[in-house]
Symmetry: C2
Subunit: 512 residues, 2 copies
């Protein structure tokens, strides 16, 4: 086991995480801290970091260095972005950080910043083609991603803080100032022809994007508090933009979901996103809670544990296995076996359930994680597994899909409509969806019943589908006692009949 720390010293805030990597390669966040230090504040007159800002940064860095040490993390990877990059005294500042905290702070280029943000997103958001932006205090990095590769990126020297500072002369930004700011943003964007009208979804990193998602969730009483992978349509963004422009700072401070520290710079930030949307002709924006910090981690993890480009192939499966491996003593063999058996049934029953490849993947994840709740309590463990599935760091999966997955696990010993009703995630599903969950999860429940004794005694299954019946043959190892499994399977026959309008006949045969 080792613990590695990562620091992202931005122009507005500084972020610190400690990741723990277990001997089996699974990893998890064990500490995180964020401080709003506004490093770029008042720096633009002379393009110098002010002594006050430097002191704030040093104080945070000292604390983080100390914290890393206290938590037995002896490797720290720290990067600084736009503010340090653009300040005349950036180099001097880096030396002071080294002297006073021992941390080797690396000032990265706009391209590298964009690339790290890309790594944080590509490993946690399941899109292949999109335009990624990382909107910070003093710069925005925009990256064109196609087929999960970053094709081109640019770092533009404008951010939520600097745009506000440049265009707002008084306490509030006037309508005229806003128009001038928009024209300025458009001008900077117009040089990037490779982005013009690409028509791909936007993925947004940074505090502005996260705050917009939070405001939208609050306004719509979204049932769950999860920002990563939340989608905002253009219409919704426009509505929020109008709302923040029409309010005074004092009024904005009262908007639910908008953080106090961001109420003053939210107009500039939102304007930039709107312009980027217009320019790229995007119809929606997805918010990523993961960004540069996570990119730093994935680069490290790729180089040391995986592949040097740091891009994970199947992020949903990877993150599910990471959750599984992170649960010590869990019966990994049983979990993987059940996933395989469930998948066999899914394939053989294709004409019965009509599910697609994506549903197959969701079921696979549910099967892998169906028992993790036993760590909380054996009793009601399917329900606890469901709780853990919606609250774990599963990536490459929408909130809706995560809910589906979680309810499939809740159904792993038979349909559990009650749990579905009581969970806030139930509100993400339509009645039809709920029926689909019960139908699809039958295969998991059946696999679980077939391996009720956790012996992996079943070699294979084969199915004959008839008009009014399904004949399932369970091929077991030689000399195996199947009585327990038979009892468990029989308990599911009634539900099968209900879901599939056919009778399930199960034959137990010894394989050669």
């Amino acid at each position: 086991m080792k613990r590695v720390s990562f620091i992202d010293l931005g122009s507005n805030s500084v972020r610190f995480v400690i990741m723990e990597i277990a001997d089996n390669g699974s990893y998890q966040l064990i500490y995180q801290q964020k401080e709003s230090i506004r490093l770029s504040e008042n720096m633009w007159t002379h393009n110098r970091l002010t002594e006050e800002a430097i002191q704030r940064a040093l104080s945070s860095m000292k604390a983080f260095s100390h914290m890393a040490e206290a938590m037995d993390s002896h490797e720290i990877y720290a990067v600084a972005t736009a503010a340090v990059r653009l300040a005349h005294n950036g180099g001097e500042f880096i030396n002071r950080v080294k002297e006073e905290t021992g941390i080797d702070l690396v000032c990265i280029s706009g391209e590298e910043e964009a690339h790290l943000g890309f790594l944080g997103v590509i490993n946690t958001i399941g899109l292949r083609d999109f335009v990624l932006f990382d909107l910070g205090g003093a710069s925005v990095e925009v990256t064109l991603v196609r087929d999960r590769q970053a094709l081109r990126s640019v770092s533009l020297p404008m951010g939520a803080l600097t745009l506000t500072g440049k265009f707002q002369s008084d306490k509030e930004m006037s309508g005229e100032e806003r128009l001038r700011m928009q024209a300025y943003i458009q001008e900077l964007l117009s040089d990037e022809e490779w982005l013009a009208g690409v028509g791909l979804p936007l993925v947004g990193i940074g505090g502005t994007a996260r705050n917009l998602a939070k405001m939208d969730q609050r306004a719509h009483e979204y049932p769950i508090a999860k920002l990563h992978n939340y989608e905002l349509t253009r219409e919704r963004l426009e509505a929020i933009y109008r709302q923040v422009c029409n309010k005074t700072l004092a009024q904005r401070r009262k908007i639910s979901g908008l953080s106090q520290e961001r109420a003053d710079i939210i107009i500039a930030g939102t304007a930039l996103i709107m312009e980027l949307m217009d320019y790229t002709k995007a119809s929606a924006m997805r918010v990523s809670g993961c960004g540069l910090r996570e990119g730093l981690f994935y680069r490290y993890y790729g180089e040391n544990y995986m592949n040097p480009d740091g891009i994970i192939d199947n992020i949903l499966l990877h993150s599910a296995e990471n959750v599984l491996l992170g649960m010590p003593q869990n019966d990994l063999i049983h979990a993987k076996y059940i996933a395989r058996l469930t998948d066999m049934l899914y394939e053989q029953w294709q004409s019965l359930h009509g599910g697609d490849d994506r549903m197959r993947e969701l079921l696979r994840v549910a099967a892998l994680l169906h028992d993790i709740g036993k760590r909380i309590n054996y009793y009601s463990h399917a329900r606890h597994s469901a709780y853990m599935i919606v609250n774990s760091n599963l990536y490459g999966i929408s909130h809706y899909e995560q809910a589906m997955c979680s309810f499939m696990a809740a159904d792993s010993h038979g349909a559990n409509s009650k749990y579905m009703k009581s969970s806030p995630y139930g509100r993400l599903l339509s009645d039809d969806d709920k029926g689909v969950v019960h139908r699809i999860s039958m295969m998991l429940a059946l696999a679980e019943a077939i391996d009720e004794s956790h012996e992996q005694a079943t070699v294979s299954v084969s199915t004959v589908i008839k008009d009014d019946a399904v004949e399932l043959t369970v091929w077991t190892k030689h000399g195996v006692n199947t009585s327990i499994a038979e009892v468990a399977v029989n308990k599911l026959l009634k539900q099968f009949k209900k879901e599939y309008k056919r009778t399930l006949h199960v034959k137990w045969c010894e394989a050669l």
Copy 2:
């Protein structure tokens, strides 16, 4: 690590559990199975187990033996109770079990049965003085417990199944038959003068007691599905008794919470409990989900890991530590340190919060378990800890107290009213209770902030309470950097002011 199996072969059902005991002595249930085999069915004419019943039992026992083997549990402790004890062919049956399954089934006396039930209850229900009954299919064991010691017990040869068989001549029990049954029960009880009018609460084990609790919970839309330690008043029991007596079997089958398999014998079972209540002058009954099975485990655990009498001293603390130890890799040192620091504050602030010793214990449990949710996700871990606290096997704590405890943990980084609102457990608390939680949990939040760096750098704390202020001195080890802790503590000052109407001044001093 070892896995030990326990089997309780009752007259109505057979129960099987596998417990895993880790090297550090912590234990958890990893498998359980219950089958309704009705071993005593039709046995009373000739006092012989019928061949059909024996076959059902053998089939279950074979399956359990197989399951234990498959799960790497090579020790099985199996006991049989009333049906086998009273049957002329009981010894023969035990031999067949040994021959056909390899299991050494031990037929225990009524006294031993009562004692094992007592062990299951005394280690999981936090009462000192009570009358315990274990109502099975063919017998009821009644035990008088004072000061956590079983003083006297009796096994009476009447149970839910046998009473039904004896007094019900047709499909339904007539009013007259019921009266005769009640008179019979009274007669059997009347020999036990040591139980007459003792005026202690009843604690009930067995399917009848559990079903009554479930019916009551459903009738009152009790927000949580947990039976162990649920209390039923005499009035509620009477209402349920009236309800089941006034319905036909078909109608009873539809009562929410009453299991299909028990609808036919619930009248006799409830009648017996009502008579026992009358005879002992109990005003209420607590239901225990733990009984003979758990008693078998605690006897084993006591003999091998603890003390030979198998009685745990402080069951709340023991079960909390068991949960804590069961969570691998958890920062045990930090958890125990926080519990100690929190407790110091609780003691010094006595005049401020006015909490009693019990509240102190609840806070201690919350402090011990405040971080267990990190295993689910670092983000929102206080909320996950709260979820785990209400769903873990904590014993010696009422549902209401478990909710209090859980919300204290949810508050461990400051008050979290939102979570309280959204949790179904919130409904167990009054508005006043919620205020108490926020006030009491301040001490945990403060301790957590003081050890924000997980260094255990604080040696002690001392408090001076003034009319309008509280002066807290934090004594740290020599040369320790307290900047992180100071930031964390400062974030709580506003909430402190709100809760205690005083200003908190914190002084950081190096101890000698």
